[in-house]
């Protein structure tokens, strides 16, 4: 059923880091797609998130710089204080324009750009969080025939973000953390 996922993009805010730290260590290795992580973060903490995630996973974490190539088998993390965008030729692009939903990086911005660049080859996953960022992005992914997944709100530390998405974005799957893991393993061909 799911043939050609090139990118799994994961968005989250408050409470999402714990989910990522449960999820990523159990994935061991990915073959057919890249994982892109867009979480709200304070500009001051800067490189800490990359280090923290790299420490917990055997999947290599690539340092995101402007116009680097997105390759399957790697994790990419949106740097703080930039929006992360996607070019049609698989390059990543960064942008310092206005905050969206009080956030830079904004999940909506990255999801919408990924939907435009990857269409049906994209899976968007939205985790715990306390604001509405991500819902518009999931709607865009769905419209572009990508697959949308939302963390089950009752399993989220902050239910608002996934609840909002369930209400307005009509996601394909609403899953708990174990379900998200199982889903990700199932699409890795």
């Amino acid at each position: 059923m799911i043939s050609s996922t090139k990118v799994v993009i994961i968005g989250g805010s408050a409470g999402s880091l714990d989910v990522l730290l449960q999820l990523l260590p159990k994935l061991h290795r990915i073959h057919s797609f890249a994982i892109v992580i867009v979480v709200h973060r304070k500009s001051a903490e800067d490189t800490n998130l990359e280090d923290l995630i790299a420490l917990k996973t055997t999947i290599p974490v690539k340092d995101v710089e402007d116009k680097i190539m997105l390759s399957p088998g790697f994790i990419y993390i949106a740097p703080s204080d930039y929006h992360l965008l996607f070019e049609k030729n698989n390059l990543l692009a960064l942008d310092t324009s206005e905050k969206i939903n009080h956030s830079r990086p904004s999940i909506d911005v990255s999801f919408e750009s990924a939907a435009d660049a990857f269409g049906s080859d994209l899976v968007g996953i939205l985790l715990s969080g306390a604001n509405a960022d991500g819902t518009e992005g999931l709607i865009a992914i769905k419209k572009a025939h990508g697959i949308t997944v939302v963390q089950q709100p009752q399993t989220a530390e902050m239910a608002f973000m996934p609840e909002n998405a369930v209400r307005y974005a009509n996601p394909d799957y609403v899953l708990d953390v174990a379900g998200i893991l199982e889903f990700m393993v199932s699409i890795d061909k």
Partner: protein, 269 residues
């Protein structure tokens, strides 16, 4: 959202009519900006938007202002400024005269940051700071040196992290929600319009700062801009880029040596 094809039509038509060449701009970001502009101004479709841009030169100017990103701040990435202050400026200080170029300076917050550091290093009197942007409106803001007062708390914190130890509020006068920076800072600044896409070198510099501008360009245009910086730098001059930008894959990389792990490169050839 406009289609990729419509975006290309927009870029071609704007070039034909006004001579502004956006063909080297990074499409992901540029498309979003054009889209946002169409939505903000309530155009029902691309064709009406295009017609307005092409038939109304005032609206075109406004479009250029809106689709180019003009978000900046004082002492953005304070640790970068700290390195400039403690490592780079003392080297430049040995010169009888120091020339700076802020390429893509936007509303000038980083230019004033530089002037403050030069003043504190007692170098401002023998410095000249050129600051350029494609967009005349932002240059007028920069010339005035008037920024929102509500930003000063954060700028003051940035300033302190960058190694500043004065009372930051001494540098501006507050009035009606605005902070006006002193003319003693701006007297060594020269602002002018310059387009990195089409304009050439206009002087020789000891330090060129172009931070978070190249991210809006595709690789070919980045290459052009980096070539321009190379030909505008004195030997042993410095080039400073944004925290996520690099000269790593460009043809000028062999002529430069990176300063430790900073986004600062010294021209060695």
């Amino acid at each position: 959202m406009i289609t990729d094809q419509e975006l290309e039509v927009f870029i071609n038509e704007v070039y034909e009519h006004f001579g502004f060449d956006f063909s080297g701009y990074s499409r992901a970001s540029f498309k979003r900006r054009v889209d946002r502009m169409m939505q903000m101004d309530g155009f029902p479709n691309f064709h009406e938007f295009l017609l307005k841009v092409l038939s109304d030169s005032v609206y075109f100017t406004h479009t250029v202002e809106e689709i180019t990103v003009n978000v900046t701040e004082m002492f953005r990435d304070p640790m970068f400024y700290k390195v400039l202050r403690t490592e780079i400026l003392p080297i430049l200080a040995t010169k009888p005269f120091i020339r700076f170029w802020h390429a893509g300076c936007s509303t000038g917050e980083e230019v004033y940051s530089m002037a403050i550091m030069l003043r504190e290093a007692n170098l401002l009197h023998k410095s000249l700071i050129y600051a350029t942007d494609i967009n005349n409106v932002v240059l007028n803001v920069a010339r005035k040196g008037v920024f929102p007062l509500r930003m000063m708390k954060q700028y003051s914190e940035n300033y302190m992290v960058s190694g500043g130890n004065k009372d930051f509020s001494e540098y501006y006068t507050a009035n009606y929600g605005l902070a006006k920076f002193g003319e003693d800072l701006s007297e060594k600044m020269v602002f002018s319009q310059h387009n990195l896409v089409s304009d050439g070198s206009f002087n020789e510099f000891d330090l060129i700062l172009c931070r978070n501008v190249l991210i809006y360009f595709d690789k070919d245009l980045q290459e052009r801009a980096l070539g321009l910086f190379d030909s505008s730098l004195a030997r042993l001059g410095y080039l400073a880029l944004g925290t996520k930008e690099s000269i790593k894959y460009s043809s000028i990389q062999n002529k430069f040596r990176q300063f430790e792990k900073e986004k600062i490169w010294k021209k060695i050839k």
